[in-house]
Amino acid sequence: MRELVMEYINVLPNADFIIDLLELVLENSLMELHGEYFQQIFGIIIGTNVAPILANLYLAKLEDSERKNEKQSSNDMSGTIQTLHR
């Protein structure tokens, strides 16, 4: 994600700021259930406004890189499917 935003740093003047904030959002979550507290420690924090956008971007990036690999090794779709399975 960092590299993605950096690619467009010319378009986005406050890219550094965005990255710092994003890091903060993704590292800190707190949820409550019935008086108990939980912190999500793995994955994109569910419930933040950025989660769907990040998930989309992540998959798009994954697809992009898989396509590049595919062209290099002239593999079939199985490569992509294997990656998705992991």
């Binding site: 959002v25 939980f38 420690i41």
Partner: protein, 252 residues
């Protein structure tokens, strides 16, 4: 064929023109089918008949008193013994035993790989740390000049309005067999909510840079309509299990 013609046609006697009906879309179909037309005209006439017959009649409830009392009872006792919630894909409300709901939520949250259990003190400590880090970041970037007024507003967000944490709950996927659930976290008053909205606003632009990200299901339909498929083409769809908790956040 235009769907308008079934409701608004020239006012000859016997033709149904009702302003209370609203046409949802102005869809035009290139082809016309007699069967479809007959079907729609039939609906129109039957509706007309129904309106004519019931007009001026006193409205009565179509529920028995017992049913009404049961519904009222359910409503008064919601969240005591039963939990009434939305369902996945908006297929209506679902009602479940409270103990089942809590058991299922716990099962999800006790997954040690994805969630940490915190005590109340640890939670409060975490909130303090986050507040500190948030204002540090905003200050740092305000000094550097890459933070607008809108950005600095994130930290001056009224903290007293904040609830201390987000709420975890589940909605049932009643279309699946056996029924499973989708975890939802409602964090509309979480400290980082304004920051998250702010970041999302800027990141949305990046989505447009990828032609593999579609805006919604409807844009997929529009895409497919334009496309021509040869006979050796095959379409398939892929779904990801627990997508959010499977994307490594650290690598981002």
């Amino acid at each position: 064929m235009n769907n308008k013609m079934f409701f608004f046609v020239e006012k000859t006697p016997g033709i149904f023109v009702d302003k209370t009906l609203r046409i949802k879309s102005k869809w035009n179909c290139a082809e016309e089918y007699k069967d479809v037309n007959d079907f729609c005209y039939n609906i129109r006439d039957r509706l007309n008949g129904l309106f004519q017959n019931t007009m001026g009649m006193k409205r009565s409830q179509n529920m028995s008193n017992q049913e009404k009392a049961a519904l009222r009872n359910l409503h008064l006792n919601k969240n005591v013994n039963v939990i009434i919630n939305d369902t996945d894909k908006n297929v209506g409300p679902a009602c479940a035993e409270k103990t089942d709901v809590i058991k299922e939520c716990r099962r999800q949250l006790y997954d040690k790989e994805a969630y940490n259990i915190l005590t109340q003190e640890e939670a409060e400590q975490l909130i303090r740390v986050i507040k500190q880090r948030l204002s540090n970041i905003v200050n740092k970037h305000t000094i550097r000049g890459n933070c607008s007024n809108k950005g600095s507003g994130i930290s001056t967000f009224k903290f007293e309005q904040i609830q201390n944490s987000s709420f975890f709950y589940i909605i049932w996927k009643i279309l699946k067999n056996p029924i499973v659930d989708r975890p939802i976290v409602a964090g509309y008053k979480w400290i980082l909510t304004p920051a998250s909205i702010f970041v999302g606003y800027y990141l949305k632009d990046f989505c447009n840079k990828f032609d593999t990200i579609l805006r919604d299901s409807f844009s997929l339909v529009k895409h497919l309509e334009k496309e021509q498929f040869t006979s050796d083409c095959f379409l398939f769809s892929v779904d990801l299990k627990s997508l959010y908790t499977n994307i490594p956040a650290q690598k981002n």
